[in-house]
């Protein structure tokens, strides 16, 4: 009488590269951002950083209502992923959603106005930081509920499939979200229906104050892909080029009917969980410092200048443009009117 057999390795679908090499053009073709893509990524990261820094400053000055979760430190993920997306592609996002929206093409002025709760904001002042959406840009919404965007992304992927569109959906979420029932149900559904969805887990090592090893035992969240028999890939989330390459493979695969993947980006938020939280209660200053040494913007800028030989002036122009855009965004927001009271009663039903 033999004991139960362990699941033999051979039968376990160990996570694998996102793309069987044959299904794609040669890696060289997809793996490196073009000149234009590289500049776009850089500009995106700068726009996110500048937006978040300005928003934090305004918040701390008591000028913004509600609360804010900033994306500072994680810019390479949104930028490296979304550069592959067309306007028709869709994303779902999180409470920490500004970066995703910017990377998917959102306007900073409309975002800033929303943070101020103004009528001109993306949601007419009714959503705020945690609910920025732009359906025309495929931004299906930030979300105040951790994990909730994941099944919604599956539904968006299903639409694309049923409508015969070659679009993909990217679901962004955190390490903490990977412990929600919604994660499990959403990935399983996308897997069995072979939907064009790329699940991007931004593992920034903490869910609020809770270190990843306290909330899950698995070392790499990407290994959870095995539970759905889809590929799981780990990427350095501080390196936009690595994100670019891995996401590019996954998105292309999904677009071509290859089904979902789970892409884990190892990253870090430089600031507290929300603006106002220092993080000191649960993170060690040295740890934060170590990660800041790998600031994704600094790393990418260095790559642009030193490895790819972009002229300093070109990069500096972008930086100046972004600064200007931020100033204009704040001005726009500040000069925008408050919503009308009757607006509160609108938009409940279509």
């Amino acid at each position: 009488m033999a004991a139960g057999k362990s699941v033999p390795r051979a039968r376990v679908s160990v996570s694998r590269r996102a793309t069987p090499a044959t299904a794609l053009a040669s890696p060289a073709e997809t793996m490196t951002p073009t000149r234009e893509q590289a500049l776009h990524i850089y500009r995106t990261m700068l726009r996110i950083r500048a937006f978040e820094e300005k928003a934090s400053e305004l918040f701390l000055a008591g000028r913004l209502p509600g609360f804010l979760h900033t994306y500072i430190g994680q810019e390479a993920v949104a930028a490296g992923v979304c550069v592959h997306l067309t306007r028709e592609d869709t994303i779902t996002s999180t409470h920490r959603g500004h970066g995703h929206a910017v990377a998917k093409g959102a306007r900073l002025d409309l975002m800033m106005a929303e943070l101020f709760g103004r009528k001109t904001g993306y949601c007419g002042g009714k959503g705020g930081s945690m609910h920025i959406a732009d359906l025309d840009l495929g931004i299906l919404g930030a979300n105040g509920i951790v994990g909730a965007g994941i099944p919604i992304a599956a539904g968006a992927g299903l639409s694309a499939r049923m409508q015969g569109r070659a679009t993909v959906t990217v679901a962004f979420f955190g390490d903490g979200a990977s412990n929600t029932g919604a994660f499990h149900e959403g990935l399983n559904l996308a897997a069995v229906w072979n939907l064009p969805v790329v699940f991007v887990c931004e593992n920034n090592l903490y869910a609020e104050s809770t270190p990843r090893e306290v909330h899950q035992k698995v070392k790499d969240i990407a290994t959870r892909a095995i539970a759905y028999d889809i590929p799981g890939v780990v990427v350095d989330g501080m390196d936009a080029s690595s994100v670019f390459a891995a996401a590019g493979e996954g998105i292309r695969r999904a677009r071509e009917g290859g089904g979902p993947i789970l892409l884990e980006a190892k990253t870090y938020r430089f600031m507290g969980h929300y603006v106002g939280d220092t993080g000191a209660a649960y993170r060690d200053a040295a740890e934060v410092e170590r990660w800041k040494q790998r600031d994704p913007i600094v790393l990418f800028r260095r790559g642009l200048l030193e490895e790819r030989g972009f002229p300093e002036a070109e990069v500096a122009t972008i930086e100046a443009e972004v600064q200007r855009e931020i100033v204009e965004a704040v001005t726009f927001a500040e000069e925008s009117p408050e919503p009308d009271l009757e607006d509160a009663l609108r938009d409940i039903f279509a």
């Binding site: 869709t90 993306y122 099944p151 539904g155 938009d347």
Partner: protein, 324 residues
């Protein structure tokens, strides 16, 4: 007019709307070859194929979440929760996502989806398979809630719900599926938010929905012998509620009894009572009465279930009391 069952009426609504609009599709547990627990979707797989009649895993949160995502991006999903009792699992997607996306996004999104489910007692299904949870949904702004009592209403309301651009929770009753009623051959719609006076009367208004409409009608028949003329108002849509119809009836009869299968506390019956106490208190000649399930989880034993659920006798007693 031909008579068909509530089940058939629902299926016709699904079939007609799926033929009419390729964006309409179905998803839920065991709805494809099995035809659903109560066989409403039986046969639709054959006509529309597995892309449009989609069996899901046991993942209620993902069923509703996927419907939300599909609705946001141009489809018109009709998702099925096998029992309304399982909505606790999907409640975040229902109440925080489906209901609120449009509003939170400043009106820039539409979520045209129907969540079909069934509830109610009568089959000894016990505490986790016999609830009447409409109050949960009515309480959430952004959801419409429909509970048809007859095959005619079931078909016409489901078609309207599918064409509505908003999330509609459509709650059928497990005991009504085999019930028959007149349903025209030709196409028709029943608008949301319009009550139906199922029986006109003079002395007392009985507001009842879903299966309880039939119980109210039977009781009304019996009460004729007492010389009491009941008006039975079926709101059909609980949200948006046709308050005007209820108030009109109470203004006429001056007496109100509300009958429902759900428990009383914070329920639809409470809402109707509150509405009338706010808007038509002066018309009332007697206290309002709610006839509801007793305040317990639903017991399994048929004897106990019958005791807990409103009966004709309890309704009749309440009507007699307010008419005394």
């Amino acid at each position: 007019m031909r008579k068909i069952t509530y089940r058939e009426a629902l299926k016709e609504a699904l079939r007609e709307e799926m033929r009419r609009d390729p964006r309409v599709f179905l998803l839920g547990e065991d709805i494809a070859q099995f035809g659903g627990s109560y066989k409403v979707t039986q046969g639709l797989l054959d006509e529309f194929g597995p892309e449009r009649v989609r069996n899901t895993p046991i993942s209620e949160a993902a069923i509703v979440g996927a419907a939300v995502g599909a609705a946001l991006t141009g489809m018109r999903p009709v998702a099925e929760l096998m029992y309304v009792d399982f909505s606790g699992i999907a409640m975040d997607q229902i109440a925080n996502q489906a209901a609120k996306n449009r509003y939170m996004f400043g009106g820039k999104a539409k979520v045209p989806m129907v969540l079909r489910t069934q509830g109610g007692t009568g089959r000894s299904s016990a505490a986790q398979h016999a609830q009447s949870l409409e109050a949960w949904f009515i309480h959430i702004p952004g959801l419409k809630v429909v509970m048809p009592a007859t095959p005619y209403d079931a078909k016409g309301l489901l078609k309207t719900a599918i064409r509505d651009d908003n999330p509609v929770v459509f709650i059928e009753h497990k005991l009504l599926y085999p019930e028959t009623g007149e349903v025209p051959e030709e196409e028709y719609l029943v608008p949301l938010g319009v009550a139906d006076v199922k029986r006109a009367g003079e002395d007392v208004t009985v507001v009842a929905h879903s299966r309880m409409v039939h119980l109210a009608l039977r009781a009304a028949d019996r009460l004729v012998a007492d010389g009491i003329s009941c008006e039975v108002v079926d709101p059909r849509t609980l949200d948006p509620l046709d308050s005007a119809a209820i108030l009109r009836s109470v203004e006429k009869t001056s007496r109100l009894v509300i009958l429902q299968e759900a428990v009383a506390q914070c329920s639809f019956a409470s809402e109707v009572a509150a509405l009338v106490a706010e808007e038509a208190l002066d018309c009332l000649d007697a206290p309002i009465r709610r006839v509801t399930a007793l305040d317990t989880p639903m017991p399994f034993s048929p004897r106990l279930e019958r005791f807990v659920v409103p009966s004709e006798e309890r309704l009749i007693a309440a009507v007699r009391e307010v008419c005394a």
